[in-house]
């Protein structure tokens, strides 16, 4: 395949759906799959088959009910998280989540499916690989670079995990962009005079509110707020909980099973979608035995259930307004992003808060990918008229004596940003210092999220308190932390060993990348083998028919040996898994068939 370094695609790696887009001179466009122009969404579902094959997208989503244990969805909610964070979540998932083994000192959640463990970046990488494949089919060349979006409120570990997913999928992640910011770019809500706009992004698993100042092509984020664990999944869950409680009460049995969980999940989502259009809908679900659960659900009932979640989003909006020092009435435009903004209650509530009708010209499920493509075109140097200036969503700090947090960088600080802090030693001759780096707004280290232990090494041995190690904490334009250190007196670069609390080490990412390549090759050869076997079967059927009908034209010995060769080829195709070997024998067999074919043709011409 030819390479084209200019191609940087924009990817929306969503909780529920993922999309890929590209922007050229004509503007951003979604890249469709084989299903035609409207086939732009790849559901973020992966099924792990027992034979090691993986099925990504619609094929996995549509059969999730039959394969509850093997079908992984909402993997985004697991990115950069530990099992301790997810205890509540995991109880409701039909698939199995465990602590990654062999990760001492860390708590990394992983999925157990298809007879092995998969970390969330690996699962996400399979979705990215499908998007990459689509893009490559579209362009007819390798696509190796991407801009990937994340919720604005994603912390460092979640961003790192997203970048790791890209690397594993064979993509250089040129930039991690915040979803609401990308949406603002896609809307092109650019003004010549300065204006404040709000992007309300309520997706499948996350919620973000971003306030931006736009003027002359510069999109400047003023403040973000949100919740990385608040989305359409939570709205669905209110219905799931309602249905399961009633089923339990009415049937008298606890009917929890992976299949039921997956069925209820699909049902709840369908009910939510139907009630966006209608005032009432009926549900029916056979839960085994003779019992069938039936019920009417009204829109009012659903709205009462989900109101607390909508209120939480409004709280976040108010906090963001306060941080941006703006009042709701100063907001000139409110843009809705994400599938959950299709819920009428959400639109109403947002409209009331900002005192204006939200703007929804673009499909809320497409707009993030389109914006990512615009940002990709900026990074490729094709758009010089636009610029995104974003902020870090969370405060960055370090644990100080007594378990308090020493804040280094405040939330909503423009990125890139940096802070420099000096550390020293407590013991004579001490050559290493450990720093616990934290993210969050709380006062105590225990209440914040630890990004990891950063161990400074190579400090020249000196009496206690004498070395001065200057550590630079730099948050780059991706919102990802980079740390470097220097001993001031000696000028020596101190090395930093990082043990991420909830993430993968670089070695692990590299290993997983190789595995993924290997897996793709096996997958491809598996497909290839299936194809070759089918061709063999087709050729053999044709040959056998010819032998049956025209075999009399051959000497009996020749006829017998030809039949033997056919049987041998069939056996080889069945037993060997070497596609090339089978194909060579198929071709050889077809050559042996030529004399008979010629005789048959001559005979046919004579009559």
């Amino acid at each position: 395949m030819k390479r084209d370094g200019d191609i940087i695609v924009g990817v929306d790696l969503g909780t529920t759906n993922s999309l890929v887009a590209f922007a050229d001179a004509a503007g951003p466009r979604l890249i469709a799959g084989e299903g035609g122009e409207d086939d732009v969404i790849v559901p973020s579902f992966v099924r792990f088959e027992a034979d090691g094959r993986t099925i990504v997208g619609k094929g996995a989503r549509d059969h999730a009910v039959e394969h509850p244990l093997e079908t992984v969805y909402s993997i985004k909610r697991l990115m950069g998280r530990g099992t301790a964070d997810l205890a509540e979540e995991v109880r409701r998932l039909p698939y199995r989540v465990e602590k990654l083994s062999g990760a001492e000192g860390r708590d990394v959640a992983a999925v157990a499916a298809g007879g092995r463990m998969w970390t969330p970046p690996q699962v996400s990488a399979l979705i990215l690989a499908e998007l990459k494949r689509r893009a490559e089919a579209h362009f007819g060349c390798d696509v190796t670079k991407a801009v990937i979006t994340v919720p604005a409120h994603f912390d460092d570990a979640q961003r790192q995990a997203t970048r790791d997913a890209g690397v594993i999928a064979g993509l250089e992640v040129v930039r991690i962009v915040n979803e609401p910011t990308a949406a603002a770019l896609a809307y092109g809500l650019d003004r010549s005079a300065s204006a404040t706009i709000a992007v309300y992004d309520f997706g499948g698993g996350t919620f973000d509110i971003s306030l931006l100042r736009v003027e002359g092509g510069v999109f400047e984020v003023l403040a973000v707020d949100g919740d990385t664990h608040l989305g359409g999944d939570d709205l669905d869950r209110t219905l799931i909980d309602l249905f399961s409680r009633e089923i339990r009460e009415q049937s008298g049995h606890d009917i929890d099973s992976p299949v039921i969980r997956q069925q209820l999940r699909s049902l709840a989502e369908a009910v939510k979608v139907r009630l966006s259009e209608e005032d009432r809908t009926s549900v029916e679900i056979a839960v085994g035995g003779a019992f069938t659960y039936r019920r009417q659900v009204t829109k009012a009932e659903l709205e009462a259930l989900i109101a607390p979640f909508v209120d939480r989003t409004l709280e976040a909006c108010r906090r963001a307004l306060k941080a941006a020092k703006r009042s709701a009435s100063e907001v000139a435009e409110v843009v809705l992003v994400g599938g959950s903004t299709r819920v009428p209650l959400v639109r109403r509530a947002v409209g009331e808060l900002f005192g204006r009708r939200p703007y929804t010209a673009l499909n809320p499920e497409h707009v993030v990918a389109l914006g990512a493509a615009v940002q990709a075109s900026i990074l490729a140097g094709r758009r010089q008229d636009l610029l995104l200036l974003d902020v870090t969503p969370l405060s960055l700090g370090i644990e100080t004596l007594g378990g308090a947090v020493g804040k280094l960088i405040g939330a909503n600080t423009r990125v890139p940003c940096k802070a420099v802090e000096t550390f020293t030693t407590f013991q004579d001759g001490q050559t290493a210092v450990k720093i616990n780096v934290l993210q969050g707004e709380r006062e105590l280290a225990a209440d914040c999220r630890s990004l990891g232990m950063f161990e400074l090494r190579g400090i020249p041995p000196m009496p206690a308190g004498i070395p001065k190690v200057e550590v630079t904490f730099l948050i780059d334009a991706n919102g990802i932390l980079n740390v470097s250190a220097r001993e001031v007196r000696s000028g020596a670069e101190a090395s930093i060993q990082i043990v991420p609390s909830h993430g993968l080490t670089r070695e692990e990412v590299r290993r997983m990348q190789h595995e993924a390549i290997e897996h793709a090759r096996e997958d491809m050869s598996a497909h290839h083998l299936i194809d070759v076997r089918a061709t063999v079967e087709f050729d053999l059927n044709k040959a056998e028919r010819m032998i049956r009908e025209h075999g009399v034209l051959l000497a009996p010995a020749d006829r017998a040996s030809l039949s033997e060769a056919a049987a041998a080829l069939r056996a080889l195709a069945r037993e060997s898994s070497d596609a090339r070997l089978i194909n060579e024998h198929r071709e050889a067999f077809n050559r042996r068939l030529i004399p008979l074919a010629e005789k048959a043709l001559t005979a046919a011409l004579k009559t």
């Binding site: 940002q375 990125v415 890139p416 940003c417 334009a477």
Partner: protein, 196 residues
């Protein structure tokens, strides 16, 4: 003013060349003021500060150099971080005064932790009065306390601005006074959040 090492043009700001677009790490000792094209003084045109910040950011931001070498990209990230920091400090009157005081020899917050005269006693009195008013639900007293606190905060801000404006010729006593006032602000701000 120095010259661009790439094209030789005269540099109007120390970090990028208007002529060829090259970006440079600033000379050691470049302060926030010169980084944003200002001379070292408290009074500044905030409109022009914002304009300079946006214009420079548009030139040095990593998005503008994503196709360049890793070294240039790293430099773009560093420079933009520097600009962001400089702008955050200079666009805020209090942080600007604090920075200017530190830049011209202090005392810094670490060197002088004190607050003016009876501030601590006053704050304690306000807290006591607040507690009493809360106890009996006396909204009017709370509102009065809030107004007094707000006016003291404003007075302090005004005095900070006046002292910072004359920092070049300020006496040791005046410099110390500026530090005490800067330290005091935190107390007024804490009270503001309590007095609701």
């Amino acid at each position: 003013m120095s010259q661009c090492v790439e094209c030789g043009a005269v540099l109007s700001v120390p970090i990028c060349c208007d002529h060829c677009g090259a970006i440079f790490d600033p000379q050691p000792g470049t302060d926030h003021f010169s980084l944003l094209g200002f001379s070292r003084a408290y009074a500044l045109d905030e409109e022009r500060l914002a304009q300079n910040f946006r214009r420079l950011t548009a030139k040095v931001h990593p998005d503008r150099h994503a196709q360049r070498s890793e070294e240039v990209q790293a430099r773009a990230t560093r420079l933009t971080a520097d600009l962001n920091r400089a702008y955050a400090v200079l666009s805020d009157g209090v942080r600007r005064a604090d920075y200017l005081l530190e830049l011209t020899g202090g005392p810094t917050a670490a060197e002088e932790r004190g607050v003016p005269g009876d501030l601590l006693a006053e704050v304690m009195e306000v807290r006591e009065a607040l507690e009493q008013a809360r106890g009996v639900g006396d909204r009017r007293t709370i509102e009065r306390l809030r107004q007094v606190n707000e006016s003291k905060r404003r007075q302090t801000l005004d005095e900070i601005a006046a002292l910072a404006s004359g920092i070049e010729t300020a006496s040791v006593r005046q410099r110390r006074r500026l530090r005490l006032l800067l330290n005091a602000l935190r107390y007024f701000e804490n009270l503001t959040t309590e007095l609701v």
